[in-house]
Symmetry: C2
Subunit: 345 residues, 2 copies
């Protein structure tokens, strides 16, 4: 590496390395003229301080880590955009890690981050994640951690989430309002915070609507596209009375569309569909999909803001920093009431 | 930071720091028994070597940088998944940087990376990027660089791209084959390699099809959703004869759908639409969208493989490593020939 280092700057300027270093760090004991000379040459030669040497000196890496299940997903890509915006304003780098919904990988990543590569961590749990012992490691090392969206139930964590219970309730209630009498719920790992809350909203809305909660109408997907679509086909086939589907995640709403296509079931006439989704083109689907849409970008931003408070101002992260943002219901054709149902209502 | 460092391991084991370090690095002069003792305690205490200290020693950061215009885009999120897979197999970290299509930001990022934070860089150029002087910096510092998809025309660069010219030709040819006689082309920055190649394919297919090339039917979008949709509306309004649209990027195919909806133009009856897209749900749109689909995941993987050859085996990156992968045409309803056109053909 023919890098421009302090030594080379010092040689060219006929100064000592220490003087050059102090000039670049704006120390009081260096004259303005010298500072100007050093900075001019540093700019000309594109000098960048060695980040690892600086990190060792400052005990700061200038980097935060973001751990997410996947990025080929609108929620996470929008949330990362929000995080990245805040990081940029703080002159910080963002290291992105993908767990691919694998607890073991999440564990490995957290262990590695606990080694001091980052100054703080933002994490959204993998669907197979079931303990938070690995997160204790970060705490022990004094590396602040903020959860977003998919959270662990450890005490005194800062968690930026959305109103999952209320949204699950609202989604189910909406299906009942448009005439559904047998509503299935498609969701992911039951251990996950968001799954539990959305499902509790589903159950309570059913009961408040005078319906029975039938656990056999709740299906847990594996996150493998083809199998999930088959699972939905089986449901629609074996339970022909199902007239409404509430999907807890975007991929399962899309999977429901695919399953209905295969079985020639019409949406909304035969079955009405609502799903959590940040799909920008939900309105261009056939039919346009009714969604519960999370403020993904804002979640990322808020989580990053809390983290930077901890990182830069040494404010310890605590549950007092937790925030719950509101999701929004967008009603589209996939839950339009069928004409006869409107009449009978 | 209450971190577990070499010193603490040494104290607990009653060994010297040097011995502990050599044991962890599997040096020949340390007995197997000592290595076992050291490793056992290191595992128990979740010891992780200080990455910055290791980096300084090894002159390796164990990290690669990926610079992309955005991630809320299926092409890039899939490509990053491919990159991340290869990095993981090589026990490397992936730092992701977003330029948001801003040349200045791309410049800042590259300057920063040239400072030695990463061992190699994968880059897909911002649409406003017009010179590659900033990339010279990486070369000067001996940091290997591999371009993917959106490339700069510097000599001796390794570039992993797709057959953009052939795909642009194929897309336009397909529109002519289904009866279109006035085909507009929607694209992004004309300075961008992918734009130029796709557009040249468009022009040649028109000429080969016996049609005239009309530059006023080529529109360059700004990448701002609402303005882009308005631009397409203006085109459809002012040029009612346009019966085919070839969108060079996904967002412009989606924008065409939105514009057609506003103007009540039917796809494919009034206007046929084809677009480059990695949208998984292209088949669920109304109507299903005909696409040219790039092998995004494979592009990411191949680019990362070339980079790791350079990083780990000190093979200099050169144009000899360049690869061109093939995109695929998926014909769907948005380009179905209208019945009367089939008869007249």
């Amino acid at each position: 590496m023919k890098s421009v280092n302090l030594k080379r700057l010092a040689q060219e300027l006929n100064l000592s390395v220490a003087t050059v270093s102090r000039a670049l760090n704006d120390r009081y004991d260096i004259s303005q003229a010298t500072k100007d000379r050093v900075r001019e040459l540093a700019a000309k030669l594109n000098y960048e301080p060695n980040p690892y040497a600086s990190s060792l000196r400052r005990q700061r890496s200038g980097t935060i880590g973001v751990v997410v299940p996947e990025i080929a997903n609108h929620f996470f890509s929008l949330a990362i955009n929000g995080i990245e915006e805040v990081a940029r304003l703080n002159h910080y780098h963002v290291l992105i890690y993908l767990t691919h919904e694998d607890y073991q990988r999440e564990l490995d990543i957290v262990r590695l981050l606990a080694g001091g590569r980052v100054d703080g961590v933002l994490l959204s749990a993998a669907s197979t994640s079931y303990t938070d012992t690995h997160l204790e490691m970060l705490r022990e090392r004094g590396i602040p951690l903020v959860f977003f969206d998919r959270v662990h139930q450890a005490p005194d964590n800062a968690q930026i989430t959305t109103d999952d219970y209320e949204s699950g309730y609202k989604a189910t209630r909406h299906l009942l309002d448009v005439g559904c009498r047998s509503v299935a719920h498609l969701t992911i790992a039951p251990t996950l915070s968001i799954s539990r809350r959305r499902m509790q909203g589903y159950i309570d809305a059913l009961l408040d609507g005078g319906l029975r909660y039938d656990p056999s109408l709740v299906l847990h997907a594996q996150g493998r596209r083809e199998q999930d679509v088959e699972m939905i086909q089986d449901l629609l086939h074996q339970r022909p009375g199902v007239d409404g589907i509430f999907a807890a995640v975007e991929s399962l709403a899309v999977g429901t569309y695919e399953a209905c296509r295969v079985l020639n079931r019409r949406i909304p006439h035969d079955v009405r569909v609502i799903g959590f989704s940040n799909l920008e083109i939900a309105a261009l689907l056939d039919p346009p999909l009714t969604t519960i849409t999370q403020p993904a970008y804002a979640i990322g931003k808020e989580a990053a803001k809390v983290l930077f408070k901890a990182v830069l101002k040494n404010v310890p992260v605590s549950s007092g920093h937790s925030l719950e943002l509101k999701s929004e219901l967008f009603i589209r054709e996939s839950t339009f009431p069928a004409p006869k149902l409107v009449k009978s209502a």
